[in-house]
Amino acid sequence: MKYIDEFRNKDLVQGIIRRLGDLAAPALIMEVCGTHTMAAARFGLKSLLPAPVQLVSGPGCPVCVTDQYDLDKFLALGEQPHTVLASFGDMLRVPGSHTSLEKQRAQGADVRFVYAPLDAVDWARREPDKQVVFFGVGFETTMPTTALAVKTAAAAVLDNFTLFCVHKTMPGALGALLAGGEVKVSGLLLPGHVTTIIGSQAYEFIPREFGVSCAVTGFEPLDMLLGVEAILRQLRGGRPRVDNVYRRAVQVQANPRARALLDEVFQPSDALWRGLGVIPGSGVKIRGDYAKFDAQARFAPILAQVPPPPPSACRCGEVLRGVLHPQDCPLFDKACNPSQPLGPCMVSSEGACAAAYRYER
């Protein structure tokens, strides 16, 4: 397939590996995006890197960073009559405190999975007697598609579609993670998909304020190795900056249409992250004009009754901060596996534990 096969070319990969060997220096590089984590595991990239260069996963799996309390609240809406819980498929098996979408569906709740958030608007239009609630999970990559869903619902004057908005924005979270100083990363492989929307300029503060090298990176083996190479070159030169090695998709500036759509529907807000807590300005909420589509407002009385999550043995939070490697978690492949997950990282298609379990055991 074009733009895929070229970036999985064995000879080119070998060439970069040789160059990495010459550049090798101790470096802890965080791959920020969950898709990077999966790709690295699926292609066995860690085994190709020179020994002093290590990859660690970051907070870039959108399903995983969704806070347990938010998930519990969304799941609670499934017990309401005539309510459709609409979600991306990744959420299906993520365990809430007491149930999951998969289990709710087996109990008779109307749980449906979208290919695009507009599917959920379609359901609302066709089934006026149902309340369709879409679980808006994801970073800047998916936010424009939910913004469009809200706009479409508004244009169609639907009063039975709402968005349960738990979207998060990437730059703020990275800032909080680096400011915390818990993990001493020397470089970040930045998420290519997110950056197609916000532009590589959004990360300029990272080398400036934290002295950490950055490379905006695509998702094929060659892309990721080029990202590692860019970071090692920056480390050698001693001048951290934001390199863009995903030029076939990413520009310096934000995508203006997507940006305008986001600004029209959403406004910045604080957000609660699993493992990271509340990070100021790292989320969005629905703007005033569209406030009637806000599920958290419409169902506030019901949501207020949902108790806070009980303590859990799951250590996904540490995995998301890059402090704990999945294999070092005492639950990994013992109490926690994809059939009996204790946390989201084990079942999300971008989860670090899922990647380690599936490809690296």
Binding site: F43, G44, L45, S47, L48, Q107, V137, A313
Partner: protein
């Protein structure tokens, strides 16, 4: 949890976890869709419920049972078909119902003889639709060289079933004894008769109305001629499995476990049609885990591998056949993939349902 595990000192994590466990409501004990997806959950369900009650003591985990009858050995199997939509590019539920059971008989190195066909029909289904499906079954049976000799018809009220479910059972005559998922040996070569993921990808697109124009076609086909030819040539075939739900990932893992061997698969030898590859990239699926309905994995002794491959390739359903890897001794049950860039990784049995990812 067995007793030995119970006696172990409990760490804080375990104590916490047990507390969480106790709070779980009874919903844990319901059948989920993932229990039917052909992966780990299904294996667990079968073990816990069915084998626990009536499993034969010598249950081997193969797709067909084999039974002694006088001087002969028979293969016996059954399969239910619930595909939606009933008609999809490349086939329909009728062709699927014949091919699925025929291919399961073939995995026991048996010549398929007769089939039964039972229909659960939702009230309101057009009779014309049923007739088209019956005609398709007749064509598939003729191609597979089996007769459909008995059956059953039930109609259920609207909403109690989704249009039409078909169950077929089949009997075949075992041509070679001992061909089983448990009979694979180190050094065996693994032949795959063609591209992977075609059926699952085509049906998914047809069901969701996605990517119209992707021009994918299900591979659904009975492989009678291809397999019988191979068996009659006297080649040393040790095991066969049709990689249906769960794809080749599920089938290879099953056999690796059954035979207590490991396997290494070369990713670049596994054919994937460009359309299927595109769908998998777009939806975040792994073609190795997507269903096939007209393919066979054949485990053959190394000295017969090239001849077997040449024979398979003579058949129209085997033109793209490849040797995709080989069997190694231990660690038992481990399947690894040599990736296109030359690294090694695990090929795990699938878990959960096939769902599109978030981005």
């Amino acid at each position: 949890m067995d007793n030995a595990e119970d006696r172990r000192p409990k760490s804080e994590d375990q104590v916490l976890m047990n507390k969480t466990e106790n709070r779980k409501p009874k919903t844990e004990n319901r059948v989920l869709l993932s229990h039917g997806a052909g992966g780990k959950e299904m294996a667990t369900l079968i073990e816990r419920v069915f084998l626990n009650c009536y499993g034969p003591p010598d249950y081997a985990g193969d797709d067909s049972a084999t039974l002694e009858l006088g001087a002969h050995r028979l293969a016996f199997t059954t399969d239910s078909f619930v595909v939606a939509p009933l008609f999809f590019p490349g086939g329909d539920i009728g062709r699927l119902a014949v091919s699925g059971t025929v291919n399961d008989l073939l995995t026991a190195a048996a010549r398929p003889l007769v089939l039964s066909a039972s229909f659960i029909i939702e009230e309101g289904l057009e009779i014309e639709v049923l007739s088209r499906i019956a005609a398709s079954m007749e064509r598939a049976a003729r191609e597979a060289r089996v007769a459909i000799v008995t059956g059953d018809t039930k109609v259920v009220p609207k909403g109690s079933a989704d249009k039409l479910f078909i169950t077929t059972a089949g009997v075949g005559l075992v041509l070679r004894e001992g061909v089983s998922g448990g009979a694979v040996r180190p050094e065996d070569r693994i032949i795959l008769t063609g591209s992977v993921g075609d059926h699952g990808a085509a049906v998914m697109l047809a069901r969701e109305g996605l990517l119209e124009g992707a021009a994918l076609k299900s591979d659904v086909a009975p492989l009678t001629e291809l397999i019988i030819q191979l068996l009659e040539a006297g080649l040393e075939v040790h095991a066969m499995r049709d990689p249906t739900r769960g794809g080749i990932a599920a089938a290879l893992n099953e056999i690796a476990r059954q035979s207590g061997v490991s396997m290494e698969i070369r990713e670049d030898e596994v054919p994937v049609n460009p359309g299927v590859a595109a769908v998998c990239e777009a939806l975040g699926l792994d073609a190795f885990m997507v269903a096939n309905e007209g393919k066979m994995l054949i485990f053959v002794a190394p000295w017969d591998a090239d001849r077997a491959l040449a024979l398979v390739r003579q058949n129209p359903y085997g033109r793209e056949a490849r040797i995709i890897g080989e069997v190694r001794s231990g660690p038992a049950g481990r399947v690894t993939v040599r990736t296109v860039i030359g690294t090694a990784r695990i090929l795990d049995a699938p878990s959960g349902e096939l769902l599109p990812r978030i981005c």
